[in-house]
């Protein structure tokens, strides 16, 4: 059984507001300008990525705006804790998730998961049913992007985050584990469950729209 752990402080990402560097008496104007230039160069290019991640967490554009705003302001105030040369996007995503959790008063879901193998097998069953019906090339023939995005939005948070980070944002399991504050094995389990649920959902939608015969044996 795997339980979501409570958020802990990441190696570099701040979970509390740190003092503003510009308030430090020793900080010179030149230091401030250099810091701002580094922030602009390292952090700002990831704004679209952070927004997508925030939107995947909140599923609400206004809430995502607030989370991104708070993420960047917190990142700016805590820029002195960012280690140059490390993965700034990962650092920002960690802050973003912390901001989100705090905004939800750290509502925590508890999920029971196997090791992912059952989900991999179930996904194989969905494919086998599609193949039997001659519709196994559905993903290749149709633009499933819009349906897939909707289906991702409907996933429960732990699975949505895993799919969003690894499959959409192309993060490694290691980086996703750091952002999600869970072991790598938990990322894998949640990712596989998410993929399986998405593929079942897409198969159901395809049947609903008459694109394929109803898929038997879908499980949740």
């Amino acid at each position: 059984m795997t339980m979501l752990a409570s958020p802990r402080t990441s190696s570099a990402a701040p979970t509390v507001d740190a003092p503003r560097v510009s308030d430090a008496p020793a900080a010179s104007a030149a230091d401030g300008a250099q810091r701002d230039a580094e922030f602009a160069r390292e952090a700002l290019p990831w704004l679209d990525d952070v927004y997508r991640f925030a939107l995947s967490l909140t599923r609400d554009e206004a809430d995502a705006d607030d989370v991104v705003q708070e993420t960047y302001l917190r990142a700016y105030r805590s820029w002195h804790t960012f280690i140059p040369g490390t993965d700034c996007r990962r650092w920002l995503f960690t802050i973003c998730r912390n901001v989100f959790l705090r905004s939800r008063e750290r509502q925590r879901a508890t999920v029971d998961l196997e090791d992912g193998e059952q989900d991999a097998l179930a996904a194989g069953s969905v494919y086998a049913a599609a193949r039997e019906s001659g519709y196994d090339d559905l993903y290749a023939r149709l633009d499933i992007g819009p349906a897939l995005r909707d289906a991702i939005d409907e996933l429960a948070e732990p699975f949505r985050t895993a799919v969003g980070l690894v499959d959409v944002e192309d993060m490694s399991y290691e980086s996703a584990a750091d952002v999600m504050d869970v072991p790598i094995g938990t990322v894998r389990s949640r990712l596989f469950r998410g993929r399986r649920l998405l593929q079942e959902k897409l198969a159901s939608l395809a049947a609903e729209y008459g694109l394929v015969p109803a898929v038997a044996g879908s499980t949740r």
Partner: protein, 102 residues
């Protein structure tokens, strides 16, 4: 592997190696297998049209998910709001938030 899982594989008409593909294809596509394990799956898929088809199917799914990344950017209203927020924090680079300047 549990008995229900074994039954599930048999119901799919899969050999033991095909079963390994079903169990570990996502690990393979995510580059999480050892080099030996990856080579074993790759060699089998080269010779097995069924597993190759399954690999193509899963690859298409993952490609569709990856494409979502390019389809959603931060809205201008957020950029404007964030620029104002950074400006009020004393950040001299606030103007760089605006689209095209990052």
């Amino acid at each position: 592997m549990t008995a229900p899982q074994q039954n599930q594989l048999e119901a799919l008409g899969l050999s033991a190696t095909c079963a390994d593909v079903v169990r570990h294809l996502w690990d393979y596509l995510d580059d999480q297998l050892t080099p030996d394990g990856a080579e074993r799956l790759r060699a089998h898929m080269t010779a097995c049209p069924k597993c190759r088809g399954y690999s193509d199917y899963q690859s298409c799914f993952l490609e569709a998910a990856a494409k979502l990344r390019a389809q959603l950017d931060a809205p201008e209203s957020l950029r404007t709001k964030l620029a104002e927020g950074l400006k009020s924090e004393g950040c001299s680079c606030w103007d760089a938030v605006k689209k095209g300047k990052t």
